[in-house]
């Protein structure tokens, strides 16, 4: 009786898992960046482990039902089979290569930003994100956490000529579509993590250092950046709109934002 129950429950778990995944209600958000490769690497990995999950659990279900205790039954004395073990190790290693090789290939692209990427600074603090764009000179001015004050929220070093034309945004991240972007991420106080699900990428913001990642927004629209590293009681509210728009709209928006020269006083 228990063999049948165990068999049925294991089958139902596999079916239930497959149905829940196949329903598609909860799956990746629509991709809005160049990181289709990340999706591909992720999906290959999920496919490999999905197959292993189904096969192993179905095998388990079959075995517990087929070899349930019977009157006068006796187990088969079978302590070892080196050849079979080597075969299974080989199959496992193959599966791992299949999912790891493309993963490492995509990762090497992920950590090498293109030369023409536009640099934008992301600053995390309890509990909001703000942004700094390079002005017409295309360069972000130096910053120093020791210079942070109520009048200089980014800690911009005003002695750096490249800093004067930097543009500040305290609420929204606007991005020109199809332009590679390199985010330089800082934090003022504690760890945060800058995560835009539709773009697939995330990276921790760490006080005392600058962290980076790059992407190219490929779809116009409004998305959301959230915080993915516990940062105190406002962690779950720490978010920011991300607007990917045509370059001319982006330039218009940027022109309306305050510059360092206009707002930051020593």
């Amino acid at each position: 009786m228990h063999a049948t129950v165990t068999f049925t429950v294991l089958i139902l778990i596999v079916v239930g898992a497959v149905v829940l995944v196949a329903s598609g209600i909860w799956w990746l958000t629509p991709l809005a960046s160049n990181w289709g490769d990340i999706d591909a690497a992720l999906l290959i990995t999920l496919a490999v482990i999905g197959i292993a999950f189904v096969v192993l659990n179905l095998f388990l279900a079959y075995v517990v039902w087929r070899y349930r205790h019977r009157e006068q039954g006796r187990a088969h004395f079978w302590p070892d089979d080196t050849r079979l073990e080597k075969l299974l190790i080989g199959i496992t290693a193959l599966g791992i290569v299949v999912l790891l090789a493309p993963g490492l290939f995509v990762y090497s692209k992920f950590i090498q930003p293109p030369q023409d990427a536009m640099v934008i600074e992301v600053l995390g603090e309890q509990w909001r994100w703000s942004y700094r764009y390079p002005g017409p000179d295309g360069k972000l001015g130096r910053a120093n956490p020791k210079l942070i004050s109520p009048k200089n929220l980014f800690g911009v070093d005003l002695t750096d000529p490249a800093a004067q034309d930097d543009v500040l945004s305290y609420s929204e991240l606007h991005l020109p579509v199809n332009q590679p972007v390199l985010l330089e991420i800082r934090a003022k106080d504690v760890l945060h993590s800058f995560f835009i699900p539709n773009f697939r990428a995330k990276m921790d913001a760490v006080p005392g250092m600058v962290t980076r990642y790059w992407f190219t927004p490929t779809v116009e629209g409004k998305f959301q950046a959230v915080c993915a590293e516990l940062c105190g009681i406002g962690h779950h509210r720490m978010q920011s709109p991300v607007i990917s728009e045509r370059p001319e709209n982006f330039q218009q928006w940027l022109a309306k934002q305050p510059t360092v020269a206009a707002t930051v006083k020593p």
Partner: protein, 582 residues
């Protein structure tokens, strides 16, 4: 008999140096601490299933409960029950010793552990409450004043408690390892030890090497918090105020933490693997398949387990080129882990499976370890970790692999050894109910979390209101998970009730009710007396898995039965070489 002699109540039950009493003390304490951790998880699920319905659940208390739930379950429950509970009870009995190598140190280990629990619990009573900086205690959040809830007394007590726990774990670990190395009885070669002992032994070695690193991180964090040093704290501006700190490196703490933290996963999983192996073999009446491979796999997991720690830090801001190394080392660990899964399945193959409660938990272990282990692969495959890191995918993964799976082995082990410990059987009907609710319920709780993680729901969120990209059915899903979690919780109360009732009123047990071959079932008395073995310690003649030996009268031959009485020459695969059969 060196152990006879008058014993007062105090030396027999409280300050006992008998490994069996210490094991029971460890187990009861860890179960009570676990019950507390379970109740904390209900509160978390209450908030997520019914957001805003409970006044006392605000972001501050939520993050405190979250932090304490994690720390309590991983360190004070799982580690304590597997090493302190199972390790203490099983090692001397399974290797044929009268007690541990250092009984006094063993007693001290329990009482120091008890003290660490008291300090841990005291944090709930101090002003500001326990720390809410997450169980990983990442600075600067954990170290700075007022950055997180419980940043006053809470974090200090947490770190002090951890330092005390590490002292307890070290005393215990020295005992477990020394006893296995020095106190094995005649004939008990290393390669004749049951896999439970192997798992606990290797995990204890790992604990001895990993906990000191947490100790260092903890002490430095405590100084950063109390005395304003800058080990981990760079120049920061908190609430608009510059703090007089400079130059510290938050990633340094993460490296120290995970150098301990990842081995810690295996400190929990390896004993569970060993216990599950013995449950599956005994109740399927079949030798464990590929014993040598199982031992090698345990050792391989432990060794490689020390060079994978930074896979917890793929998006931490560390040098991105480390990602290649740690992704490869992490996925290599999947191979010995997979070998173990195959060997459990092949142990069941052509077995004679008795659907006892321990067997059910053994089957539950295999299934939950499969899903929990497999979902580690995307997280180890560095680029796939980028979208999944710190989402609910991670929550589902680690709860299944080191929470539910480990508990399957622990529960199975308790149902299995309870008759030896108490001389009474646990109630089987309640046991089966406990198993089915826990097993099915755990899938219902944690499987949906994988999908939420793929959507991109970050973990450690008090509510999901701000997330604009969630499907509308997500509220319903959270309610479903909460109901499943509360149901599974009730089943655990049933289990505790069964323990108490059966210890007093349960059916009397035979000395060897499961007809098992390992030494602990061959003691002259049940429960075993002080000194375990009566006049003479047993002599071991064979490995631990002589089940269903062809030609043997019974379907098991205890380890202390001499070889000459074998009806058949095929009894010890190590000695006659691997036998191939179809």
């Amino acid at each position: 008999m060196p152990h006879d002699g008058p014993q007062s109540f105090w030396t027999k039950y409280i300050f006992s140096q008998d490994h069996k009493t210490i094991a029971i003390q460890y187990t009861i304490t860890a179960l009570l601490v676990g019950l507390f951790g379970l109740v904390l998880s209900w509160l978390l699920r209450a908030q997520l299933g019914f957001p805003g319905s409970f006044q006392f659940l605000n972001p501050g208390s939520y993050y405190q409960i979250l932090t304490q739930h994690g720390m309590i379950m991983i360190v004070y429950m799982l580690t304590a029950i597997l090493l302190g509970g199972f390790g203490n009870y099983l090692i001397p009995l399974m290797v044929g010793a009268r007690d541990m190598a250092f009984p006094f140190l063993n007693m001290l280990s329990y009482w120091v552990y008890f003290l660490s629990v008291i300090v841990l619990m005291a944090a709930f009573l101090v002003p500001g409450g326990p720390t809410g900086a997450g169980w990983t205690l990442y600075p600067p959040l954990s170290a700075l004043p007022n950055a997180a809830p419980g940043s006053g007394w809470g974090i200090k007590l947490m770190l002090i408690s951890l330092v005390i726990f590490i002292a307890a774990a070290t005393m215990g670990g020295l005992n477990y390892v020394t006893t296995v190395l020095q106190f094995r009885t005649r004939g008990m070669t290393l390669m004749r030890m049951p896999l439970s002992v192997w798992g606990i032994f290797i995990a204890s070695v790992m604990a001895l090497l990993a906990f000191p690193v947490l100790f260092v991180g903890g002490v430095m964090l405590l100084l950063d918090n109390v005395l304003g040093t800058s080990f981990f704290i760079p120049a920061v501006t908190l609430f608009g105020q510059q703090l007089p700190r400079e130059g510290g490196n938050p990633l340094l703490f993460q490296h120290l933490f995970w150098y301990f933290g990842h081995p810690e996963v295996y400190i929990v999983v390896l004993p569970a693997m060993g216990i599950a192996s013995d449950l599956i073999s005994t109740h399927a009446r079949k030798p464990i398949f590929g014993y040598t491979a199982m031992v090698i796999a345990l050792a391989a997991i432990a060794t490689i387990g020390f060079i994978v720690w930074a896979h917890h830090m793929f998006v931490s801001g560390m040098n991105p080129y480390f990602g290649f190394f740690f992704a490869v080392s992490t996925l290599i660990i999947a191979i010995p882990s997979a070998v173990k899964v195959y060997n459990w399945l092949l142990t069941l193959w052509k077995g004679n499976i008795h659907f006892t409660v321990p067997m059910l938990f053994g089957i539950g272990w295999i299934s939950t370890f499969i899903i929990g282990g497999l979902t580690g692969l995307p997280l180890g495959n560095v680029i796939a970790d980028v979208p999944l890191h710190d989402t609910y995918f991670v929550v589902g993964h680690f709860h299944l692999v080191m929470g539910v799976a480990a508990l399957m082995a622990i529960f199975g082990g308790i149902y299995h050894w309870f008759p030896k410990v108490t001389g009474r059987m646990l109630n089987e009907t309640l046991g089966k109910l406990h198993f089915w609710v826990t097993f099915v319920g755990s899938y219902m709780i944690f499987f949906p979390m994988f999908l939420m993680g793929i959507v991109g729901v970050p973990r450690r969120y008090f509510d999901f209101n701000v997330l604009q990209y969630l499907p509308p059915q997500t509220g319903g899903l959270n309610l479903f998970i909460t109901i499943a979690a509360l149901t599974v919780g009730v089943a655990q109360l049933l289990f505790l009730g069964n323990l108490i009732w059966s210890a007093m009123k349960g059916k009397r047990a035979d000395a060897n009710p499961w007809r098992a071959a390992t030494l602990e079932w061959q003691t002259p008395a049940t429960p075993p007396a002080h000194g375990n073995w009566g006049e003479q310690v047993p002599t071991v003649h064979r490995w631990a898995y002589d089940y269903s030996v062809p030609g043997a009268a019974q379907d098991f031959i205890p380890q202390n039965v001499a070889r000459t009485s074998d009806p058949s020459p095929v009894a010890h695969p190590q000695e006659r070489g691997a036998q191939r059969a179809g």
